[in-house]
């Protein structure tokens, strides 16, 4: 406590820097998290640079070359319509990244405000929101997404919305729990004592204290989102062909599993790596940022 009492110029900057550096060093020492980060990075780069990495069209059929095994022209082979699997996997990363971001956005947009309000105000508001959350949580997440899609219909937008809504209760619970504990803090009382409005207290005092768990959950949530969306695609009720979507590719490859296993294998590997990346990174972030898990 006493070493901070001597004023020094630029101390704030330095200690903020050193905090970042310390966290970065911890993250780097965590090999699994580093690996996850590399996976995410290569996945994002692939998605952004898809047209450069794979110049052709991923959706144009060429029936003369259907179900070819991996070769020099088509490194991962072709599917039942003669489309390059490499191209479709590459372009599929765009779709699944879009889904992951969209889903988490929906989850945050709905879940965070509801969780904050529920945790901060308590009482009847809390009771109402929590009962709805309980109801949603009673379904396994994927089943909920499945049910919502059957109501909303198929397609990219509806996939995002339904998977997003299936994640809302997780965010509500997480944020509510944090808000509950933060609102008990003396500084919230102190903020009230200077006349701060509830809205300001929520946004300026409580929300920033909740950001770390939200960040961690967001990383983990992206992995789950990709998996759920792929699941819907696999069942044929997610993103529709000819859009290259990993789950849908996996689904159509299932028919040729015995004589052309590459059709299903490579999209499967892509899903696996993307989900693994987000999960490892999320776990790593939690280890670094959440002191409760610090050993």
């Amino acid at each position: 406590m006493t070493e901070t009492t001597q004023p020094q110029d630029g101390m704030t900057q330095r200690s903020a820097d050193s905090q970042l550096k310390r966290n970065w060093a911890k993250l780097r020492r965590n090999k699994a998290a580093l690996f996850g980060g590399i996976l995410i990075l290569s996945y994002v780069i692939t998605a952004l640079m898809a047209p450069i990495i794979f110049p052709g069209s991923p959706s144009a059929p060429n029936l003369t070359r259907a179900l070819e095994r991996p070769s020099v022209t088509h490194p991962l082979g072709t599917d039942e319509l003669g489309r390059s699997i490499l191209g479709r996997v590459i372009y599929g990363s765009r779709v699944s990244l879009l889904i992951a971001i969209g889903v988490v956005f929906v989850g945050l947009l709905v879940g965070v405000p509801l969780g904050l309000v529920s945790g901060y105000y308590g009482g009847k508001v809390d009771f109402g929101i929590q009962r709805v959350t309980d109801t949603l949580l009673a379904f396994p997440g994927f089943l909920l997404a499945l049910g919502l899609v059957s109501v909303l219909g198929v397609g990219l937008k509806n996939t995002i919305i339904s998977v997003g809504i299936s994640m809302v209760p997780i965010y509500i619970r997480l944020v509510r729990g944090c808000a509950l504990s933060v609102r008990q803090q003396t500084y919230v009382e102190a903020a009230k004592a200077v006349g701060t409005r509830d809205r300001v207290i929520l946004l300026r005092h409580i929300l920033p204290n909740v950001l770390i768990p939200i960040t961690i959950q967001t990383s983990l949530g992206m992995g789950t989102a990709i998996l759920f969306a792929a699941g819907l695609g696999f069942l044929g009720i997610g993103v529709q062909p000819p859009t290259p979507e990993w789950g849908a590719m996996l689904g159509s490859g299932r028919a040729y599993l015995f004589h052309a296993p590459h059709v299903a294998t490579f999209p499967g590997i892509a899903i696996f790596l993307a989900v693994l990346g987000f999960n490892l990174a999320g776990d790593g972030l939690r280890d670094v940022l959440d002191p409760r898990f610090r050993l």
């Binding site: 901070t4 009492t5 004023p7 003396t186 500084y187 102190a190 200077v194 006349g195 920033p208 204290n209």
Partner: protein, 325 residues
Amino acid sequence: MKHESLLSVMNLRTRFHVYEGMVTAVDGINLDVYRGETLGVVGESGCGKSVTALSILRLLASPPAEIQGMILFDGSNLLELKLDEIRRIRGNAISMIFQEPMTSLNPVLTIGEQISEAIRLHQGAARQEAWNHAVEMLQLVQIPSPGMRAHEYPHQLSGGMRQRAMIAMALSCRPRLLLADEPTTALDVTIQAQIVDLMERLKGEFETSIVLITHNLGLIAEMAKRVLVMYMGKGVEEAPVEDLFQEPLHPYTQGLLESIPWIGKKLKTGRRQLQEIPGIVPSLLEMPEGCRFHPRCPRAMKLCSKEEPPLIRKDRRKVLCWLWT
């Protein structure tokens, strides 16, 4: 000017609905604070000192809290104001310093941001203007290099500095009344002295009245002009500070004063070194009949356990005890 009361609390009763029933934390407190005056409120932990302060600003969530009585501040009853109106008073005309400087600042906001928040709120100042004012306030509470400190987070300051920052925040809108709830309890002695000096100086500068809540009688002796002694939610004695220390009327006050160790004080032969008040404070759920202090009172009479004592006025003093009837 002198006898104008800025705040008068009349028959304040704060009760809490809890699982086991109803707990009366503050039971009929009356107090007046005059302009520019410091009123000390003393008592053991749990006697309702802090709840009184929180009730004045209506900072208790209700339910479970239920506040009755009248709190007149500048002619208006705070208990009848709308939420919006009381919010305009909080931090502006009345502000509060909390006990724990470690936890009463938000760890994720810089000191400057937290101080300027109140200023922007109440004075409608622009961001930069409020920031400058916050830095001035930090200067005023003698934080070295305030311009730089304003950019720091609470964990970068020491306990004493945080309490100064809290004081800066509380005084930033020149409140007319400051509720100081154990402002020095969490600090070590040398820092306590500095904080006391600071509060005294600022009181002069801003003409702020102070309600000083503490269990530290030394602090009361130093700062307060009048003292209210509380026991189990009741005000048991009220007196000017010199009278109280010279001749405490209520047995509880006597016990409190005897339980302070005085360095260099000659030990009375044949007596224990330091007197204590025997027993413990009873649970608020099992309030003793009659006078609340009688189970622990060395001078309790039969009457004390049967009937509640009346409030007795004696010159400038008030005492709640059968001994003085």
